[in-house]
C-alpha cells in the first residue's frame, strides 16, 4: 500500500508537473513545429491524417494544374527560436512561386528515410498531379530503415505494392508490408484484443479510467517521458553522446536507402516528374557529426546518380550562415546545458533556403 501511494504521488506531483509536448521532443525544446497554411488550407503536412486537407487545398488551387511536391524531414517543419511572423521554407517558396502561377506543397516526416519518401511519392503521385519533386537527401537519415506505422496502412499498401513492380525488389518493403494485418480497426494500445469479446469491455473500462483519473489519461505522455526524458538522456549521459558525436554510417542501411533513392529517380522518370535533389544545409561553425570520408563518399554517390539519372543536384550545405542556426537544450542529464542544433535553423535560414531553391527552380521552369 505504501508502495502504491509512493508511485501515485511521484506520478502526480513530479512527472505530471512537467509540461512537455513529446510529439516534438525530437525537434529539441527550442525548435517550433511550423506547418504552412495558405488560403485556409495546409500546404505542408507532417502526418498521413492531414492528407485529405492537403488534397482539398490542391483542388481549391486548380486541380488540373500539376503541383511542385517537396518531401523532407524535420528540417522543413522545425523553426529554431521561432519568432512571430516567421514562416518555414515551403511557406516562403509558395509565396514566391505563386507569382509564377505555380503551387507548391510539402510533406515532411521526422527522420524520414528514402524508402519512406519512395512510398510516399508513389502513393501521392496517384492522388496529386506532380510536375516537380524537390527532395533533400540527408546523410543522417541514411541510418534509418523501415516504414513507420502511418505508411503501413492498408490504403497505402494496396496502391504502392503490386506484384509486377520489380522496383520494390531488394527494398525490404515487401517484408515490411507483409507483416501488416488487414482490417485492423483496433487502436494501437489494444492491438492484442482485435475482434475479441474483451475488446469492447476493455475500451469501456479504459474510457471510464480516462475520465476518472488524470494520471490514467496522461499515460501516453508519461510513457514518452520515461523514454525521452529518462532513458534517452541517460543513454546520452552514460555514453557521452552529444550533437557533435560522430554518427557512423551503417553500410547495408545506407545501401538500402540509396536503392530507394534510385527507385525514386526511376519513378520520377516514368511519371515525367522533374526531379530536383539537394544536399541539405548543415551548420559549418562546428565540427560536423559525420566521419568525413563517409560524408564525402555520400556526396560523390549523389553526383554519380545525378549523372546516371539526369536530375538536377544542388549542394546547399553552406547557404545558411552560422548565426541563423541555433542552440537547443541538452539531450543529456543535467539541467540548463545548451548544445548545438545541427538540423534546424531559424526563420531567416528557411527564407534563405526557399530563395535558393526558388532561383534554381526558375532556371528549371524556364
Amino acid at each position: 500500500m505504501t508502495a502504491l501511494v509512493l508511485a501515485v504521488a511521484y506520478i502526480k506531483f513530479f512527472m505530471l508537473s512537467y509540461d512537455t509536448n513529446f510529439e516534438d521532443a525530437g525537434l529539441g525544446y527550442d525548435t517550433f513545429r511550423y506547418t504552412a497554411q495558405k488560403g485556409g488550407y495546409p500546404i505542408h503536412i507532417v502526418e498521413m491524417d492531414s492528407l485529405r486537407n492537403l488534397k482539398e487545398g490542391v483542388d481549391n488551387f486548380d486541380s488540373s494544374k500539376p503541383v511542385i511536391l517537396w518531401l523532407g524531414n524535420s528540417q522543413l517543419h522545425g523553426v529554431n527560436q521561432y519568432k512571430q511572423g516567421d514562416q518555414n521554407a515551403i511557406g516562403y517558396l509558395h509565396d514566391s512561386l505563386i507569382l509564377l502561377h505555380k503551387y507548391a506543397v510539402a510533406f515532411s516526416l521526422p527522420n524520414a528515410n528514402l524508402l519512406e519518401h519512395y512510398v510516399l511519392l508513389k502513393y501521392l503521385s496517384g492522388d496529386i498531379k506532380i510536375d516537380q519533386l524537390i527532395i533533400p537527401v540527408f546523410f543522417d537519415d541514411t541510418r534509418e530503415a523501415g516504414l513507420r506505422t502511418d505508411l503501413l496502412r492498408d490504403s497505402i499498401k494496396y496502391r504502392v505494392v503490386d506484384k509486377g513492380d520489380t522496383t520494390l525488389k531488394g527494398l525490404a518493403i515487401t517484408g515490411a508490408y507483409a507483416s501488416v494485418k488487414t482490417g485492423n480497426s483496433t487502436d494501437a494500445d489494444m492491438k492484442a484484443l482485435n475482434a475479441t469479446t474483451q475488446e469492447r469491455v476493455e475500451k469501456y473500462l479504459n474510457d471510464r479510467m480516462n475520465e476518472a483519473s488524470s494520471i490514467w489519461a496522461s499515460r501516453a505522455d508519461l510513457r514518452s517521458m520515461i523514454i525521452y526524458d529518462y532513458l534517452f538522456k541517460l543513454r546520452n549521459f552514460v555514453f557521452n553522446i552529444t550533437p557533435n558525436t560522430k554518427r557512423k554510417l551503417i553500410p547495408l542501411r545506407y545501401n538500402q536507402n540509396m536503392d530507394a533513392f534510385k527507385a525514386i529517380c526511376r519513378l520520377c522518370h516514368e511519371n515525367n516528374i522533374k526531379l530536383m535533389v539537394y544536399i541539405p544545409p548543415i551548420r559549418n561553425d562546428a565540427e560536423q557529426p559525420y566521419i568525413q570520408e563517409e560524408y564525402q563518399r555520400f556526396k560523390r554517390d549523389l553526383e554519380d546518380y545525378s549523372n546516371a539519372y539526369g536530375f538536377s543536384l544542388h549542394n546547399y550545405e553552406n547557404i545558411v550562415p552560422a548565426e541563423y542556426w541555433g542552440l537547443k537544450k541538452s539531450t543529456s542529464l543535467g539541467e540548463g546545458k545548451m548544445e548545438l542544433d545541427f538540423m534546424h535553423f531559424q526563420g531567416v535560414g528557411h527564407r534563405l533556403l526557399a530563395d535558393t531553391i526558388f532561383s534554381n527552380l526558375k532556371e528549371m521552369i524556364r
Partner: protein
Amino acid sequence: MIFNSLTYILFLLIVIPLYWVMPQRQRLWLIFIASLIFYGFWRVEFIFIMLITPLVDYYLAHKIVQEPNRDKQRRILVLSIILNLGLLVYFKYLMFFADSANSIADLLGINLKIPHLDIMLPIGISFYTFHTMSFIIDTYRGFVKPPKDFITYGCYVFFFPQLVAGPILRVGEVISQLQMKQEYSSDDIVYGIRRILIGLFLKVALADNIAPFVDDGFSQDLTSLSALDVWTLAFMFGFQIYFDFSAYSSIAIGSARLMGIKFPENFNFPYLANSPRDFWKRWHISLSSWIRDYLYLPLAGQHVRDRYNSKSEGGLPTFKESEGVSKTFVPLFLTWAIMGLWHGANWTFVFWGVYHATLVLVHRLIIPFSGKLSKNVLNIGGWMITMPLIMLSWIPFRAANMQVVTSMLMKLVQPSQYLYLGMRENIYIIAALLIILTIAAYLVDKYLLPLIYRNYTLRFSVETIAFAIIILLVIIFLRPISQFIYFQF
C-alpha cells in the same frame, strides 16, 4: 481474457472476494464458471469446443476405473488419445501437413493441390489438451482416481490462471488443493498481488518494450543483417520470450495464490544454466517434465514412477550407459521434434526441437571428459558456452520460415559477416544491458536479498521502493498491446 488488461484486474476484483465468502462447494462452481467466462472473453463459441475433450475424457476415465480387463482399459485410453490428438491435429496441424504435402508433391512433380482452409486455432488448446491427457493417462496408470464430479475435474482443466498458457500441472497437484477448503490468509493475498505485479512489470514494461526492436530486426531485409546482428537478435528475442512467458507464469502463480492455491515455479533463472540439461530444469519446467513423463519415458521404454506424478518438476531423465541407441538417442530426437512441433505448426519449431536434442546429446557425450575440471570452471565455462547456444535456438523459434533460419544461421559461419553492424546502436546497448541485468538479478537474489531480509526496516524500505517503481511502471505501461507469445501455442 488477456492478463495485461484492465478487464482482468476487474475480473479478479470480482472473483476473488466472491471466492472467499463462499462455502467450499460453491467455490468450485465459481472457479468453473469464472474460468468459462475468462475463456469466453476471447471467443464465446470456442467454449463448446473446449468442453468436448474434458467431458469425454472424464467419462472414459471412469470407464477405465470400472473396467477390470487391462486390454480393454488400454483400448479406452487409445480412444481418448485419438480424440485428444485428433482435435489438436485438426485445429493446429491439418493445414501444416496439407501445405507440407503440397510442397513435397511439387518437388516430386506430382500435381497435388490440397486446398487451404482457414481454421482458427482455439487459444490454449495445446495446454488444456495436455492437462486432460495427463489426467486420463495417469488414471490408466493407476496414479489417480477420477473425481466423483465433473466440476472438480473441470476446475483442474479449465482453472483460469493456467488455462491458456500453463503451467502444465498434474491432476494430483491441483485437485487435492481444490478439494481442500482453503483457509483465508493475508500472506497468500499479499504474495499473490506481488507476483501479479511482478508479472505485469515483466510483460508490459520489459517484454512489450523489447518487442519492437525484435520485430524490426526480424522484418529487415536479411541482406542488411550481419552475423553480430543475428546474435543480437537471438539474445533480444531470448530475453523477450523469457520476460513474456515468465510474466505469464508469475501472474498465473499469483492469481492462483489469491485463492490459496499453490502452483510450482515454471522458471528459475534459465539463462544462468551451465548446461543444456540444466537449462531444461530451469525453463518452462512444467512442460519439460510433462514431455519427460508422458512422451520420452514411454518412448524409451522406461518405467514411469509414481513419484513423478506428484510434482511437475523439470529436468530431463538420466541416460544410462547400458542403454543402446534405440533406447536413448532415437527417443531423445523424436521427443524433441514432437516438443518443437507442439509449439507451432512449422518446420522451424521442429528444427528448434532437434537443435535442443543435439545440444543435450553433445553435452552428454562430452561430460565424461570434464571430470578433472574444477566445479567453478565447469559452472562458469559451462554457462559461457550454454547461454549463447541456447540464445541461438531462438532464431528458428522466431523466424518465419526455414529459409530465413538458414540464411541467418549461415551468416554466423562467414567471417566477413562479423565486420559490420546493420542495426541502430540502441539495440546493441539494450542487449548488453539485459545480459548484465540478468546476472545482477541473480546475484541480488542469491546474495544481497538474504542480507537485506535480516533487517526488518531495511527490508521494508527496499521492498517499498522496489514495488513503488514496479507499480509506477505497470500503471504507465499497462495496455493489451500484445498477447503473450505462448498464447499462439
